[in-house]
Point group: C3
Chain length 349, copies 3
């Protein structure tokens, strides 16, 4: 993603220059006209983030010399259809402030998407704060729709509060060893020592291998829940191969929440350059003890520039075993299908 | 309004330049010592936005070539007397999160003032997101006090949640045809298809004509309420003529809320350059079935620079038919008057 | 504190230059691994602001000519361990929106740390908005740990809602008269005139003297509470002397809240350059009618650059007379001790 580099910071009040340093302001504003249709109710919306997640952020890097760098990254989710922000979670537990349940105040902007400080060097990167989790990153990287919009794979984020991001995290990214990288992360629920369950504490690891057109990834995580000894566990594996005319990708994932039945999911799909844009196609499934939903999605992204795209996506979900998954705010009866489309514009800066 | 252009964005990490593009950070910080006096209680405050609305925002435009442009605009209200933000509304209905009713948390910053993405070209501008409504714009454009501060016309914003802005809006601005422009807007309440009332859905149009010193505008809107078949309807008309030594302006507006009696209002006033500043004067009235308030306001804005002004405004409201309108946080009895003044500084960047 | 100067704002849409003006975007991202140990419970956290308060802000100054300047400062607290913002207070009273009491939404960003507009000239500075209080500034300036992190003096901020900052404030800073400066501030609770108590109204003054290595300060404040005639009163005095190899500092403060017993406190401590960093040491006490806590803290800040530091702080608090003060989220029994440490990184931009 190209972002404009703002304001090479070159002067302080005393005239000392930071020639190696920069501060970048960046963002995405993505709006879509969206329709969802189900057997019970339909819905029409102006929604955000149909192609890329809308955001506003500031980040920067300082060269400390000797190969060492310090950096920061503050990034807020923006619901640009109505101007509200997105909530965060202070302790990786349901008590940590989930937004939206009442009408007291509008959710203000928070740096919910990422708020980190890092030290980087030959040893890799050490990163502290609120950040993506390793288990998320495989799920989005091997989804032709990048877990945004109506085409988002139906197997996405079946876990708990740390399925996408974690607060109070400490992460380490290794450098590349012949294409192999390791990312380990631990995060804290910050409970008192007398708390038996330690909900919100967790660990995760992601291994990746990149070699030319081939990418492979494996991730697994374990997060403690409010019931002592019961963990929320995820694992996933993904692969992609870029043939030039078409890029193929697939992933498989498994989630166990609060000790109940496993949730199994998979995605297969492809992206292909076509004209001034990209064609996208995916099929995905989620299955929890036979309660099963299958989604098929097709879309096209037309590039007006490197920063601005028009896009259209159409998706259909089929339900079995009593499942009621529905798209774009529609509702549908057990074992009924639902369809939806997005038609939007994404502008980044 | 002049805003400083920040940081011509000229570099990306890969060195590609966006010569035609810019990102602008802008804002207004306006604070006033304000007093209100009524027959029941008085109040003294430090308040914000006595002359211009305090705000913080980021906006930018990208030249797509061929006369086409993409742009974004994210703008948050700022209560700089206490640092809090301003709430927004997610669905143009009272359920859509109105701030301030309890003491749970401070209202964080939201991009409540505007959060839009646009495509512009020879055809005009297509704009998506949260934006001003056409019905508002006439009310503020033909008020010598610009609907800010104690001098704000008493006929202002008598409608519902879409009187000033709407979320989930799609708007189209035509180019100028010999001075005539059209702005049409539709906005969505995003209710389920089985909802009979469709509260928060609405449409509005504004027609303007500008020719040298003369400006004319007409706007009308209809917004569905939570009672099926009952609409909130507004219409207004305004005119101004700039004689050089003095600019005269007037408007008339009518609002029907939830099927009750019409609210009629008007404003007549003028602004005139005087010394290093501008003198402002206005009389306005609102009348709902004989419950009637009349406001007279006079003020002076002294320009310290293009970006910084000192201002003073004095206003008096008279009530009839049981009306209790009062100024600057004072309260007054039925048919009693109230007076108020602002003395402040506005700084923009 | 060095901040990067961003983007000399040189162009408006019409090409007029503001050669004397600047807008600066600045911030601090500070994260620490922190442990607290007490007789009842321990806690481990990733916390923010262990060395400097995490923040994001924008500020700027405009030269008005003739020695006059206008400036603004908008600064938000950032909890970068989880991305949330910090609440503010609208009326300097408990009803003015204290964050954190329930789980409704995440606290969004507010400009809680400061949101002011100023006029400056030979006469000094007049500042309007939400700002630090004079009584706070002495408490932090003569604390070797700057009232941040586990080493924060235990005598800090024993007053009410205006102990650190006040909303609706009007402040005046004198120029220096041979090293002597005066800062007076008044702030408003914005109650109705019929309210007998006028809670949140207050006045404060701070006198400072600086001469080479010597700094002296005295501050006092009085803030009305919700009980008519009962005031929250503070006074403090501080001194520091920089011997080059070591800088010594001490302060004494007294707080009377809601008419109950006085709270007396003191701090003695020192900072000393050592290698590429600074050693810090402090002892502090708070005593309310014999309920007494004593804190000892030692720490080291290692400078990776002017903008980036690593730091470690260790502190121990001893309790007497039934006191239960504990560190870093631990809890401890009456008259039991508590220990804690921070190990972190601070990066500013």
């Amino acid at each position: 993603m190209k972002k404009s580099l703002i304001a090479l910071a070159v002067l302080t009040a005393s005239g000392i220059s930071f020639a190696q340093s920069s501060v970048t302001m960046f963002g995405v504003v993505d709006a879509a006209y969206a329709k969802g249709t189900g057997s019970l109710t339909d819905k029409t919306q102006l929604k955000n983030s149909g192609y890329n997640s809308s955001r506003f952020g500031v980040r920067g890097t300082e060269d400390l010399g000797g190969g060492l760098k310090a950096s920061f990254h503050l990034e807020a989710g923006v619901n640009n259809d109505d101007g509200s922000g997105s909530g965060t979670n202070t302790n990786n537990q349901s008590s940590g402030a989930i937004a939206g349940s009442t009408t007291v105040g509008s959710q203000g902007l928070t740096f919910n998407r990422r708020s980190t400080v890092s030290l980087e060097g030959g040893f890799g990167e050490l990163r502290l704060g609120r950040d993506y989790t390793p288990q998320f990153w495989t799920e989005t990287a091997f989804d032709p729709f990048g877990t945004n919009g109506v085409g988002t794979n139906i197997a996405f984020n079946k876990g708990g509060t740390t399925g996408v991001r974690a607060s109070n995290s400490i992460g380490y990214w290794s450098p590349s060893f012949n294409g192999v990288k390791v990312w380990v992360q631990t995060y804290m629920g910050e409970n008192a020592s007398t708390d038996g369950a330690k909900a919100g504490d967790g660990n995760a690891i992601r291994l990746t291998y990149d070699a030319g057109p081939l990418s492979l990834a494996y991730a697994t995580s374990s997060t403690k829940t409010s019931t002592a000894g019961v963990n929320n566990e995820t694992s996933n594996i993904g692969a992609s191969y870029d043939l030039g005319m078409i890029k193929l990708m697939a992933q498989s994932n498994k989630t166990k929440v609060d000790g109940s039945a496993d949730i199994d999911g998979y995605v297969v799909g492809a992206t292909a350059p076509l004209g001034k844009g990209t064609l996208r196609f995916a099929m995905s499934e989620t299955d929890k003890a036979g309660v099963k939903s299958n989604l098929t999605a097709i879309g096209y992204v037309y590039g007006l520039s490197k920063r601005t795209d028009l896009y259209a996506t159409y998706a259909r979900v089929a339900n079995k075993g009593g499942a009621t998954a529905a798209l774009n705010g529609a509702t549908t009866g057990a074992d009924q299908s639902s369809t939806g489309y997005d038609f939007g514009i994404k502008h980044s800066f």
